[in-house]
């Protein structure tokens, strides 16, 4: 999923749960900013592909895979909040609905999966979800105005 869709999903969650301050920062950190691993992969993309746009490049890392729960769960216990776990799980649920290859438990397992809803075109899933999230965000904001 694109960073915009993750942003809409996180904003909806933040609004619905009424999160503020540190909790809101954690929500956006684990719901959106985990995509920062694309920056780590950028030099690899530039070296392998160059500046042209090539779809399907493996941009993912364990920073946005289920293996991340191994460090996020202890972090939540330390911080005394489940917000990182919740928004990280939402991020993963969305990513796993897109059909590119993913390695959920690497480096502990080399199992590769494409996630769910693999028969529905990715663009359709993204467009539908983006629209639903946008409408829900506006509706919630309107209702609380």
């Amino acid at each position: 999923m694109t960073v915009f869709t993750h942003f809409l999903a996180t904003t909806l969650g933040v609004q619905a749960l009424g999160l503020e301050g540190r909790e809101a920062v954690l929500a956006y950190g684990f719901g959106v900013a985990v995509d920062v691993d694309h920056v780590v992969k950028a030099p690899y993309y530039l070296r392998a592909v160059g500046l042209r746009d090539k779809r399907g490049y493996y941009w993912r890392s364990s920073l946005q895979e289920p293996v991340g729960f191994l460090w996020i769960a202890p972090l939540c216990l330390w911080l005394g909040t489940a917000v990182p776990l919740l928004f990280y799980a939402i991020h993963l649920l969305m990513d796993y609905s897109v059909s590119f290859e993913k390695m959920p438990f690497y480096p502990y397992s080399r199992w590769v999966t494409r996630g769910w809803l693999v028969h529905v075109p990715d663009k359709v899933k993204e467009a539908v979800l983006f629209t639903i999230l946008l409408v829900a965000n506006v509706a919630l904001w309107w209702a609380r105005r």
Binding site: Y57, Y58, S62, L63, E101
Partner: protein, 217 residues
């Protein structure tokens, strides 16, 4: 510790290495166990509220922990099994010592358990990532100046951060493998994973002695 540092450390402890191995006839594995028992005694002393004694015993355990590797390297007794035993007993030693601080009421039990968790997580990847900042029990020597809960926060934070960075390093290694493979990007992850699995299965078993025992003893 990198190889040059290890060589320097080996040179410094050589007299002790000779005494333990040639004088007393101890194998690296026996020294590893001695290190563990010293750490267990340290944990007992700390749990009983005798922290200075505990830290002194912990230091003795750490010296022995450094010497077992030096004996193995000096007498060419290194083995995968010895490395595994060393890692296992190191983690067991740290766990006992961390829990001892909780038993003594110096830190909340949750802090001790989370510090243990972070250290264990890092251990699962540090051999592959090559990243281990070494912020484990050694941090506890600063207890005279820094409050214990703060030290446990540092241990937890540094080891958890090193774990996350270690995962990213391993991911980057895998990315290199995928980039080298090339071809259809839609299947590159599964092809690289199969290749990595095949390579790890093809790796020959260790030819080193199974136990770190000197020949003829």
């Amino acid at each position: 510790m990198g190889p040059p540092l290890k060589r320097i450390a080996d040179r410094i402890v050589r007299p002790l290495v000779r005494l333990l191995h040639e004088g007393l006839g101890l194998s690296p594995a026996q020294i590893t166990w001695a290190s563990f028992w010293a750490s267990a005694a340290a944990a007992g002393a700390i749990a009983a509220g005798r922290v200075p004694l505990g830290l002194a015993l912990m230091a003795a355990g750490q010296v022995l922990d450094g010497i077992d590797g030096a004996v193995a390297r000096s007498y060419e007794l290194s083995s995968d099994q010895g490395h595994r035993l060393d890692t296992l007993l190191d983690r067991a030693s740290e766990s006992l010592i961390f829990l001892a601080f909780a038993v003594a009421g110096l830190v909340p039990t949750m802090h001790a358990l989370l510090a243990i968790t972070a250290v264990l997580l890092l251990t699962t990847v540090c051999d592959r990532s090559g990243l281990d900042p070494g912020f484990k029990r050694v941090v506890l020597y600063f207890g005279t100046w820094v409050p214990w809960p703060t030290l446990f926060t540092i241990i937890f934070g540094v080891n958890l951060a090193a774990y996350v960075i270690g995962l990213l390093i391993i991911d980057c290694q895998f990315q290199n493998r995928m980039d080298a493979l090339g071809g259809d990007l839609d299947t590159v992850a599964s092809r690289a994973a199969r290749l990595e699995a095949a390579e790890s299965e093809a790796m020959p078993p260790t030819t080193q002695p199974v136990l770190s025992e000197p020949p003829g003893r």
